[in-house]
């Protein structure tokens, strides 16, 4: 078999110009202190599926990398007030394999399942997906539709915020310097609730959403929709919560005319880019189609519980 490989003696001196320090704090306080002391040249490392690539390509050149995966709050999944709290650095695969959470929020789990490959999901976290702030991030519309909130710590203490307030544009967030998204809270589900996330991509796997749509709704005992949230991805500079689309569902039986109105409202809210992956016109049209299909799936799921 293999012999013990020890290369401790092979250190070369002074060959790299920029040293990048790696720290893996065990507590949130220590992480906040490290980030506060780094004068902005620090980056957070969770799953690393975006940060490692950005570092390697030279797009970012941090002096300090703070790995948050050793902090218990960042890695836990637990029931809370009838809902679920999960750490922002939990890998996609750990979320997918959490049976109770997956049963309660199948749409959120579907969105996580669409991120990258199995290899990528074993590392990529939902917190990273949010904070990387790609307008096409798959988990973000699903979480916004779900009404998820994030808990944040920073140099000024703790706060929490709805997920939709975090991304502000491509690669940009509303987080202040040194703030860390610690965890997500998925609220308690009323009976007859269902959620769904669907996206359009040219390929079935390993692709980036041209349009994504998350829908979360709750029916009353008579099958009337009482609550709904509709959120679109990849059709604006950030995930777009569309209250007009939700309003078209609320009070209806989620029947064909309501779905038509909802799809039209979804399309009307889009302000997409025009690129080789999808023209403006195409994205606007498909946003309505995806929102309709997601609402139909959410409806089926709501009727099943």
């Amino acid at each position: 078999m293999y012999f013990l490989i020890t290369l401790l003696g092979s250190m070369e001196i002074g060959e790299k110009m920029s040293e990048m320090r790696y720290e893996a704090p065990k507590t949130l306080d220590a992480a906040v202190a490290l980030l506060a002391g780094a004068n902005g040249r620090a980056r957070i490392l969770a799953g690393g599926t975006d940060v490692v690539i950005q570092m390697r390509s030279g797009r970012i050149e941090p002096e300090l990398l703070v790995d948050l995966k050793g902090i218990p709050e960042m890695m836990a999944i637990a029931a809370e007030n009838g809902g679920f709290r999960f750490g922002a650095a939990v890998s996609g695969l750990d979320l997918i394999e959490h049976k109770a959470l997956a049963n309660a929020w199948p749409g959120v789990i579907d969105s996580v399942n669409l991120i990258g490959s199995l290899q990528v999901r074993a590392r990529a976290s939902v917190g990273g997906n949010l904070c990387n702030a790609s307008p096409a991030a798959d988990s973000v519309p699903a979480l916004i539709a779900a009404g998820a909130r994030v808990s944040i710590v920073g140099p000024k203490g703790k706060r929490d915020a709805p997920v939709e307030e975090i991304p502000t544009g491509p690669g940009k967030t509303s987080l202040a310097k040194g703030e860390i998204v610690v965890s997500f809270l998925l609220p308690k589900r009323p009976a007859h609730s269902g959620d769904a996330y669907l996206r359009f991509t040219p390929r079935t796997e390993m692709d980036i959403a041209v349009v994504g749509a998350g829908v979360n709704l709750t029916l009353d005992g008579g099958g009337i929709c009482r609550e709904a949230r509709v959120c679109l991805g990849a059709v604006a500079d950030r995930a777009l919560l569309v209250p007009e689309a939700a309003a078209a569902l609320i009070g209806s039986k989620v029947d064909a005319p309501a779905l038509d109105r909802m799809a039209a409202a979804a399309s009307a809210a889009c302000r997409p880019i025009d690129d080789k992956r999808g023209t403006r016109e195409f994205r606007i049209k498909v946003a309505g189609v995806m929102a309709r299909r997601a609402a139909e799936l959410a409806l089926t799921r709501a009727r099943g519980n």
């Binding site: 401790l8 092979s10 250190m11 490392l45 690393g48 690539i53 695969l93 199995l118 796997e205």
Partner: protein
């Protein structure tokens, strides 16, 4: 100064290495530990040529830093055969001619082994989804899928 000192287990053996923060696990495996079976295709998490398992989970070693391997158990293609005896997947890849240039092959084998550990009796579709993170520019995938299905049959004793 400031290299990170890391202790980990690779293919069952304790290893220690020094690495710079920006070195990926792939860099460490290939350049520091001289385990060059694991390949770099893209370096951006898209091709799966660098697939290894870390604490039993399939990952892209190009997306993980060497320093993150501290305390972890890593398995690479070098640990797949048992001495001279090839793993059934390796044998079936040869029998079915499931490789041409061979750059994707170590990653395919590691991913296929991980798939069969979770699902010993996969359908063709499950094999294709299970290997969706592994790209091959040569074979057209058909022979790879056949080799995996055949190896699964043999490993189940069917």
């Amino acid at each position: 100064m400031a290299k990170n000192r890391v202790s980990a287990t690779v293919n069952g053996d304790a290893v220690e290495f020094l690495c710079e923060t920006q070195q990926t696990l792939l860099d460490v495996l290939r350049d520091e530990l001289r385990l060059t079976g694991t390949k770099e295709g893209c370096g951006t998490g898209d091709c799966g040529a660098c697939s290894v398992t870390v604490d039993g989970r399939l990952m892209c070693s190009c997306l993980m830093l060497g320093v993150e391997a501290q305390g972890k158990s890593i398995k690479t293609i070098e640990g797949m055969a048992n001495g001279e005896a090839l793993h059934p997947l390796q044998r079936k890849f040869l029998e079915h001619a499931a490789l041409q240039c061979g750059v994707c092959t170590p990653g395919m084998l590691i991913a296929a082994r991980s798939l069969l550990e979770r699902n010993p009796d996969p359908t063709e579709q499950e094999v294709r989804y299970g290997l969706a993170g592994n790209l091959c520019r040569c074979t057209g995938y058909h022979k790879i899928v056949e080799a995996v299905l055949d190896a699964a049959r043999e490993m189940r004793g069917a």
